[in-house]
Amino acid sequence: MALDDRKTDGFKYIGTRPNRPDGLDKVTGKARFGADASASGMLHGAIVRSPHAHARILKIDATRALALTGVKAVVTRADFATGLTGEDADLLENVIAGEKALYDGHAIAAVAATSALIARDAAKLVEVTYEPLPHVTDVDAAMQPDAPIIRADAADDSVPEGMHPNVVRYMEFGRGDLEAGFAEADAIVEQTYKTEATHQGYIEPHACLAQLGADGRGELWCCTQGHWFVRRMCTALLGLETSQLRVTPSEIGGGFGGKTTVFIDPIALALSRKASRPVKLVMSRSEVLRATGPTASASMDIKIGMKRDGTITAASGVFRLQGGAFPGAPTAETMQCAFACYEIPAVHEVGYDVIANRPKQAAYRAPGAPMGAFAVESALDELCRELDLDPIEMRLKNASREGTRSSFGPRFPRVGLVETLEAAKAHPHYAAPLGPNQGRGVACGYWMNWGGETSVSLAISEDGTAQVTVGTPDIGGSRASMALMAAEALGIPYENVRCNIADTGSLGINEPTHGSRATYASGLATIESARQAIGKLCERAADKWGIDAEAVIWEDGCAKPSGPNAGEFPPLTIAEIAAEMGSTGGPISGHHEATPNGHGGSFGTHLVDLEVDPETGRTTILRYTVVQDAGKAIHPAYVEGQFQGGAVQGIGWALNEEYIYGQDGRLQNPIFLDYRVPVASDLPMIDTVIVEVPNPGHPYGVRGVGETGITPPLPAVANAVATAAGVRLRHLPMTPPRILAALEQKAGG
């Protein structure tokens, strides 16, 4: 990777805000999302789901369903691969239950019929006999000695002896002298914090159109963040050869991590194989809420010591996360991010991954980070109040910077936390006056970002325009960013580049659009592909001029002779070289494959002002400012959009959103009316400040920006509520009833 060839200023296209290439299709209704495809002879699928939180499946009788006119196939677990191990076994168990239903909404069987209505009717006619079993949905309850055992053999060797079998993984790390650190402190806070599970809440439910023949060859159209992941998972679950399934990603209506795995795709393929017809499967919203996503819920014990001047002396944390009925709660990520913002001489962290009778958690924007940030940043705020310290000054005093040994081990390269804190301090928001019942909250957050397997091709067309082919689905404008980077590298106008998202048959493996990696990794590969193409363009010019290729440079979309012996030739434009390429050596393209690992982490600082109504407990956000390090903002409008969207999802998590389970273990709020995501009238404008501390690991300095923004809002809002209402809430979400209860307790107490 020619990263010595870095460029961090003097850009022509990078940093501008052109219209996105898919904008027209998306404002006219032409863009084709997951549910918008159809095929001739297509059937519609519907899924039979468990009404029990935990139950043995005694019998599945599809006789009556199959007798209904129009019903063509019913599949159960028996129609999938056997003998899977590890993550594939868990994935299959989640996609369709085996011996037990493990949560309310767990898929048991599926039907394909000639219409969606018939399929839904038929699903109701599939008779399932259950033996209900005791269940547990709360993380702390699931660890108690008397908790029901959900899966006896789910734990790995990391779990210390004597723990409940629902504890499936154990992690621990730390360094420094904790005892001495706490002894040095002038104040210590030690508290327990809890967050509830939330859903990614993408507005587009999962949808797919599958066709699988008896010969094991298949086509799948689906809304996904990563179609190579989908291909691998589906072929494993169906016992197919990987390359025989071609997966084409639709336009995707939001994902936030929740569309990096599969739920319905393998079922649609199995139905198609059985019925010998294409099958379309689309989830309802309540299926989405009951059986996909959500994130983990968490219970955390935090202890932090601080000197009077604000220096953090020691910190410890115990993190218990419940990730549904399968291993995989993002406990490690919670631990990695919790104290990452600060230089702490002594730190110790313990983590538990716990299973419970809930859907298998899926990644949600900076998976794990918001919970830990809520606990740690709340605890720091409690210390600032006790020691009468300014929350930004305290954070500046301890902030991680280049060379800081992180809480999780490695030293940080060049990072931008200090710059975000300085920008927040200087922002007019921080000095704005507050009225009665109003409060201001500050918090920081971190996400490490990701590189991942990446394969990109770039081809020059006969007229000198360029096509870029990437494998990372575009969820928020990334095609515009790729086109900008290609335009910058090639020196041609943005409009002359078209970026396409390829299917799995057209490129090497690409990891999903996750981990804030698309602009970083596909962007890096786009730039390197362009540079490779430029090398070839220069060679063609050199041949034409009869000089060495080394004596040709590329500038403003033209080959130019350069150096003392190059000779005098008029520049050759990309269009001139491209027009002749057929006769000068054939097509000109560039290709780059890598698993880049120079993704720099991104830090952010958020400010929020809000008002709490003491009569109703309702919180109103008055002012919100996001400051985050983008490394280099390729298309600033979409960077701002990521900041704003992340902040609002975090606000929802802090104030309203939660999975509510009844005593019966069933999800009580599986529709948007009751699972309340923020709406336009809940919010003010979300101000943004883009800090640019170039990432040394990207040719133009890019850092992923998608995820960090959801992390600080949880504690920032909690810290502001503590001021506005005079009560500290250590359990999210801070719904009006919870705030009222806290106010009443304070008044009574």
Partner: protein, 159 residues
């Protein structure tokens, strides 16, 4: 079950379809008329992704039966632009980057158009409350509100 024959007007074109009595207008538009611009985000009237107008009134097409469109005029996202000329709202949404994934966009554009027809000079608060039934999970609404306000200003100048 016998199907119902429906004759209606969609974006100015006369359209006929046969539907089940319990089929929604949203499903009829998407499956029988072939217009997939209106989206189903919830099916319960809570997200607004399926917004269309029925005789000029803004409705969630997931809460209207297909049979109810008989003799009425339906306007969907596919009819918002005038040929190649985008409606100012469409143009402003692109210019302001008011969409990320774009799944909410058709519903929000239809809802915003209905607002500006009634209230050409809305305050920010009015826009926020009018669009409170249209969920967007990606943008945090900031750029959407700006795009609607800007389109309203441009349309007032033009009229």
């Amino acid at each position: 079950m016998s199907r119902i024959h429906v004759t209606t007007t969609v974006n100015g074109d006369e359209v006929e379809y046969l539907c089940e009595p319990r089929e929604t207008l949203l499903d009829c538009l998407r499956d029988h008329v072939g217009l997939t611009g209106a989206k189903e985000g919830c099916g319960t009237g809570d997200c607004g992704a399926c917004s269309v107008t029925l005789d000029g009134r803004l409705v969630c097409s997931c809460l209207v039966l297909g049979a109810e469109a008989e003799g009425k005029k339906v306007e969907t996202i596919e009819g918002l632009a005038d040929g190649d000329t985008l409606h100012p709202l469409q143009r402003k949404f692109i210019e302001h980057a008011a969409l990320q994934c774009g799944i909410c966009t058709p519903g929000i554009l239809i809802a915003a158009k209905a607002l500006l027809e009634k209230t050409p000079d809305p305050t920010e608060t009015e826009v926020r409350y009018w669009l409170a039934g249209n969920l967007c999970r990606c943008t945090g609404y900031d750029k959407i509100i700006r795009a609607v306000m800007d389109a309203a200003a441009e349309m007032r100048e033009a009229s």
